[in-house]
């Protein structure tokens, strides 16, 4: 593993550790075996479900165990008691339906679906309060488990997917609550892709306006410009037009001058500059601003980005302006010196720029 020192243990310590590990291994295999052999179509073993929770808390990547849980949940959903309602007479809803193989004898009016169809003709089921409550309680337990797993490992695909899968089947899903959960996780690690993806799923379910999301994005960026995920998120919010392109340019120009050593702002700048709505005047303004900033040659890394930005700017200016192509040839040569690891890339661009320069030279002669 990275960055871990190899600890030399005595033979005795090694032997003890080996014994412990063999015990853990045996318990793990026995647990999984028990769970897998308990899988049935319409019943489940609560002890196996419990063992499953323990194993997943230790390792949420055992994907088959999450699948098993989903099967159990489907059994629970299938077997919940329902009111049967006749569309012909909606007030008539005295019949309970339970799974034919699981009729609760304490409910005196329990009937099978077939009998109900016989008596009622077409009908539909609706959760009784009790049935719904029980199911919700069961599903809440699933949420608790995923939360436990996520605290231990906030990057497990299995945990996030299970949580969302359960929400989709929850009789009264609290999407707002999930939305707040996302913000809590973003506070802990605002680069966690899983959380951003999950947040995107939740947003589909609640009504959030573009204005809200822009506000959220601006707040995150103002709190910390050095956040690739926030810039990325912002880029997904809308197509830029003349008006918004100005807003974005101002925001990101401020960012790169405030925190020039972070690459994420620069990537966003490149994206904004690629928009044809950015005017020639604005590009020339930026070129001047970078020109001034670039004269401080002590900050090499910033200089690198400034030259890159000048390439983007001059690349999108009118190309038969000989002056700018000339400068780009210089820029690429400078970049190759500043960033020798990517020399090959700059030399490719240089070739293209020099060919353009030659064409212009041929045309004018």
């Amino acid at each position: 593993m990275h960055g871990r020192f190899k600890v030399r243990t005595t033979e005795e310590q090694k032997a003890i550790k080996h014994k412990e590990q063999q015990k853990k291994l045996a318990a793990y295999h026995a647990g999984v075996q028990q769970i897998l052999s308990s899988r049935k179509e319409d019943t489940y073993d609560p002890i196996s479900l419990d063992i499953c929770s323990q194993l997943l808390t230790l390792n949420p990547d055992i994907y088959t165990l999450w699948n098993y849980r989903k099967e159990v949940i489907l059994i629970k959903i299938e077997q919940r008691p329902l009111w049967l309602i006749s569309p012909k007479d909606p007030s008539c809803r005295l019949l309970f339906l339970t799974h034919p193989r699981n009729i609760d004898r304490s409910i005196q009016q329990a009937v099978s679906r077939d009998l109900a169809l016989e008596l009622f003709g077409e009908c539909y089921g609706k959760d009784g309060d009790e049935g719904e409550e029980k199911l919700i309680k069961f599903l809440e337990n699933e949420f608790r488990l995923t939360e436990q797993c996520l605290i231990a490992n906030p990057k497990s695909y299995g945990s996030w997917h299970h949580r969302y899968w359960v929400l989709l089947r929850h009789p009264k899903p609290n999407w707002e609550n999930e939305f707040n959960l996302c913000n809590k996780y973003l506070t802990m690690d605002d680069r966690n892709l899983h959380v951003w993806d999950y947040r995107r799923l939740i947003i589909n379910k609640i009504s959030v306006t573009l204005v809200d999301e822009l506000k959220f994005s601006t707040e995150r960026l103002n709190a910390n410009f050095s956040n690739y995920s926030s810039w990325h998120y912002r880029s997904t919010l809308r197509e830029l037009d003349e008006e918004s392109v100005t807003t974005e340019l101002n925001l990101v120009q401020n960012a790169v001058f405030t925190d020039p050593f972070d690459s994420s702002g620069w990537f966003y700048l490149r994206w904004v500059l690629s928009n044809p709505a950015v005017t020639k005047e604005r590009r020339e303004e930026l070129l001047d601003a970078f020109g001034a900033a670039g004269r401080d040659r002590t900050r090499l890394q910033m200089l690198f980005w400034i030259i890159m930005a000048k390439c983007w700017l001059t690349g999108s200016l009118v190309l038969n302006d000989k002056d700018y192509v000339d400068k780009r040839v210089e820029y690429y040569k400078q970049l190759a010196k500043l960033d020798p690891m990517r020399k090959g890339q700059y030399e490719d661009y240089l070739k293209i720029a020099e060919e353009k320069l030659k064409k212009i030279g041929d045309q004018s002669s």
């Binding site: 960055g3 075996q33 055992i62 999450w66 695909y157 993806d197 880029s235 997904t236 690459s263 990537f267």
Partner: protein, 206 residues
């Protein structure tokens, strides 16, 4: 362009050639004597782990301790006859990730006939959704990793015709971001692993 941290000082007398023999030994012995704990605890990714080890051995022109037949037998037992998909380990559930690994392994040793390849094709086709994306298994997680697994597997089996490739391309293309990179779903942040999968997808599509 990223800030690189130098946290290692290299000694003077370090080897400058790859010690292939040591790597071969490590892989062949893995799970046999040492690392039995790590090996045992990672059975939930066994078939994929096998692929990583076996393909490395193959690149180093070496063979594992097990015979080709033994390896094929194990993989055969991992195929689910109902869905056609292949699981990471005997008794575990099928998944597109391990289905690809299984097919890759059998291709290395040229014994695809050990499994029901048509079953694999059916499984992968069944995982494609109307928007062109692929889920990893019947439980519905969507990810461009699975788009990659789908075309990689079908390419090896020469059955790309089994899926709607245009829709598949449409979906992966929709995952392209402002920075030119790709993510796991539309609007997901670019990530090197997913860029690998998406570019790999397009290579297979050519």
């Amino acid at each position: 362009m990223a800030t690189l941290l130098k946290d290692i000082t290299l000694q003077e007398n370090i080897p400058t050639n790859i010690l292939f023999d040591k790597h071969i030994e490590f892989i062949r012995e893995y799970g046999q004597k040492e690392n039995t704990y790590e090996y045992g605890m990672t059975d939930y990714l066994r078939v994929s782990g096998m692929y990583w080890g076996l393909t490395a051995l193959e690149l180093m022109k070496s063979l594992p301790l097990q015979t080709k037949e033994q390896i094929a037998e194990y993989i055969k037992k991992c195929q689910d006859t109902t869905s056609g998909g292949i699981s990471a380990c005997i008794g575990h559930d099928p998944h597109i990730l391990h289905t690809l690994s299984a097919v890759q392994i059998l291709c290395i040793y040229d014994n695809l006939e050990a499994i029901d390849t048509e079953g694999v094709v059916k499984y992968i086709a069944s995982l494609q959704l109307p928007d062109g994306s692929f889920s990893g298994d019947k439980w519905g997680e969507i990810d461009t990793r699975f788009s990659f697994c789908a075309v990689a597997t079908l390419s090896l089996l020469k059955r790309m015709d089994a899926i709607d490739i245009d829709k598949a391309v449409g979906f992966v293309t929709s995952c392209k971001n402002f920075d030119g990179g790709f993510g796991s779903r539309p609007r997901s942040e670019s990530h090197a692993g997913l860029i690998y999968c998406c570019i790999g997808f397009f290579v297979y599509h050519q």
